[in-house]
């Protein structure tokens, strides 16, 4: 785990140093050589690159990931400030996907030949093929431009819960979150439906299901009591991993809906060459992924005792 993070930090740092000279973007266009030099020194950009990395790493361990060139505030604070907005959106999208996709997938898996299942599968194929940013644009077009019932940008009114701002509990905030969360969840729904269906179909052929059927277990109990447990194992793993994927895709959704989360911060920072924020974002996301992968591995062990942890 530590190895992964170190590798990521080196790669991220080395590569961000190749992305143009941030000093030239920050100083006024009529700045003299001496002023440019002074700015360079203030930002610590005149030191050799390994020294810069070493300073960066020591600071990073102390939780100091550099100061944003643009906002003149600690990069980590900037990101953490916006993280709840992103997490709120992803969690809502994820829950929505889980609630809608799993029943549809189970149904399609249990009755593969019925026309409803075929409809579900065709819809999921469309969902998988849909570029999420286009879906967002189309939702804005329909919800905000044509019908004019849903707001297309921002978070709306927020309320504090334990010091964290959340949108979905106020009416205004809820209206704001519908379209971004829907955009984010469609791809997930499509994928989860297919995965659940495949899992259920595979399980239905197994002997213990046939035995339960012969024993006279009702159809509903058979599906939800016997088949679901084994069919959902891959779904849960993917659920965890997809959470990371969603955080990455939130970048696009946030840009389209001007949702003030950390993904939008990343894109804005990229446009403004705000190197410390980019580096801090990537490191933070790397940590999140490492933690998620680790948690999924452990959860897997609890769900499926046949798997041995090494």
């Amino acid at each position: 785990m530590v190895f992964v993070l170190l590798a990521v930090s080196v790669i991220v740092f080395a590569i961000t140093n190749l992305t143009g000279d941030p000093v030239l973007l920050l100083v006024p266009p009529d700045a003299t050589e001496a002023q440019i030099e002074q700015a360079r020194e203030q930002l610590g950009l005149n030191l050799p690159i390994w020294e810069q990395y070493f300073i960066f790493l020591t600071n990073a361990i102390h939780g100091n990931l550099g100061i944003s060139f643009v906002f003149n505030r600690p990069a980590l604070d900037l990101i953490l400030e916006r993280m709840p907005a992103t997490l709120e959106m992803t969690v809502i999208a994820m829950c929505f996907a889980g609630i809608t996709a799993i029943p549809m997938g189970v149904y399609a898996g249990a009755h593969p030949q019925s026309p409803v299942s075929k409809g579900i599968m065709s819809a999921s194929l469309l969902g998988i093929s849909m570029p999420s940013f286009w879906l967002g644009i189309m939702l804005i077009l329909i919800g905000a431009v044509v019908l004019g019932i849903l707001p297309s940008s921002g978070r709306g009114e927020v309320v504090d819960i334990m010091g964290i701002h959340v949108s979905f509990l106020t009416e205004d905030g809820f209206e704001h979150i519908i379209m971004p969360a829907l955009t984010l969840s469609v791809g997930q729904i499509a994928m989860l439906v297919r995965l659940t269906r495949a899992g259920v179909m595979e399980v239905m052929h197994q002997d213990y299901i046939k035995f339960a059927k012969a024993k006279g277990v009702s159809q509903r109990k058979l599906l939800f009591g016997h088949a679901m447990k084994n069919a959902l194992i891959p779904v849960i793993t993917v659920f965890g991993l997809e959470f990371g994927e969603l955080i990455a895709f939130a970048t696009i959704t946030e840009t389209i809906f001007s949702w003030p989360g950390m993904g939008k911060l990343l894109i804005d920072s990229i446009y403004m060459s705000d190197r410390p924020v980019i580096v801090a974002y990537l490191l933070l996301v790397a940590i999140m992924f490492v933690v998620i992968n680790f948690t999924v591995d452990i959860l897997y062990r609890f769900i499926d005792p046949r798997i041995e942890l090494r």
Binding site: V4, A7, V8, V12, I15, T16, L18, T19, L125, L126, I128, S129, M130, P131, S132, F133, W134, I137, M138, I140, L141, A144, V145, G244, E245, A248, F249, T251, I252, T255, I256, I267, I270, Y271, I278, L282, V285, A286, F289, V290, N293
Partner: protein, 293 residues
């Protein structure tokens, strides 16, 4: 050559294909877009790259069915560019990027996977460790980051996508190669004294290729989405060569002025193209997976 073709027509796969409407629909869609990409420039009303053919007074014209004064079938964008021509050229770029990045990933990934699976040892650990690290991050994020470093450009998008895409092939090929390595025909080839390189590429490779066809088909679709997304975010292809993603991004900017056709049509095209690859990919997966037979 003729016998290969005749054999193909008599094969079980072709029989199943003939009776699978979805697969046929996918193949037709893909074939249509491929033909459009190759021959499109001969049939489009204008060349959207050629600024001389654009007329600013034609800007923001709606599709001709809605407004009889407009002679543009799908309307025009803010530069007076015919949307239909723009889309045809965009399909060209999207398909070119998707297919070439897929081919590069395929070659790099297969080679690395073969070496890792056949040789084993530290080389195997190294390649697979890199693949593991890379797989724990979403490809979209890695591609975005690479594009930020390299800057815009079609060639750079292809490089970024290939750097993301090789992993899948490498892992699949490595697993299959490890299974093949202990089989008798490999031992026989070794006894005959063939060099390792030849055993890997002439003997093992043909036996591990099948699952790659499915990955490759679906990957083209994924790459096209990723390219469009990168271009939409402004880090993909340059503005002089508008891909579908870039067209969509200009459509997004004028969305609130009610100019829906600039964003609806390129997106629909994108959707159809990817539905095509996914339909075909699904069929191939069912067809080539011996477990389902």
């Amino acid at each position: 050559m003729k016998t290969v073709f005749a054999k193909l027509l008599q094969s079980e796969a072709y029989f199943n294909f003939k009776h699978n409407y979805l697969a046929i629909a996918g193949a037709i869609l893909l074939g249509f877009f491929l033909l459009l990409a190759i021959f499109g420039p001969f049939v489009t009303p204008q060349n959207p790259y050629n600024l001389k053919e654009l007329n600013l007074s034609d800007a923001y014209l709606p599709p001709s069915v809605m407004d009889s004064s407009s002679h543009f079938l799908l309307g025009t964008d803010q530069q007076g560019r015919d949307m239909l021509s723009g889309i045809v050229y965009g399909v060209r770029i999207s398909l070119m990027v998707g297919i070439s990045a897929m081919l590069i990933s395929l070659v790099i990934g297969t080679t690395l996977g073969l070496i890792a699976g056949y040789r084993g040892g530290w080389l195997d650990s190294l390649i697979m460790r890199v693949a593991d690290i890379q797989l724990s991050f979403p490809g979209m994020l890695i591609a975005l980051f690479i594009m930020v470093v390299f800057g815009r450009g079609i060639d750079k998008v292809i490089i970024a996508l290939s750097m993301v895409g090789w992993v899948l092939y490498a892992r699949t090929v490595r697993g299959a190669t490890m299974a093949e390595r202990s089989k008798e025909y490999v031992d026989a080839a070794k006894v005959c004294g063939y060099p390792d390189r030849m055993i890997m590429f002439k003997h093992i490779l043909p036996n591990v290729l099948t699952p790659l066809i499915v990955i490759a088909t679906i990957q083209v679709g994924n790459f096209i989405i990723t390219e469009a997304t990168l271009s939409f975010l402004g880090v993909g292809v340059p503005t002089t060569q508008p891909s579908l993603g870039l067209l969509l991004s200009s459509g997004y900017q004028v969305l609130f002025s009610g100019l829906w056709w600039v964003s609806v049509f390129p997106g629909l095209t994108l959707l159809l193209m990817i539905v095509g690859t996914n339909l075909l990919g699904d069929f191939l997966r069912d067809e080539l997976n011996p477990k389902l037979k």
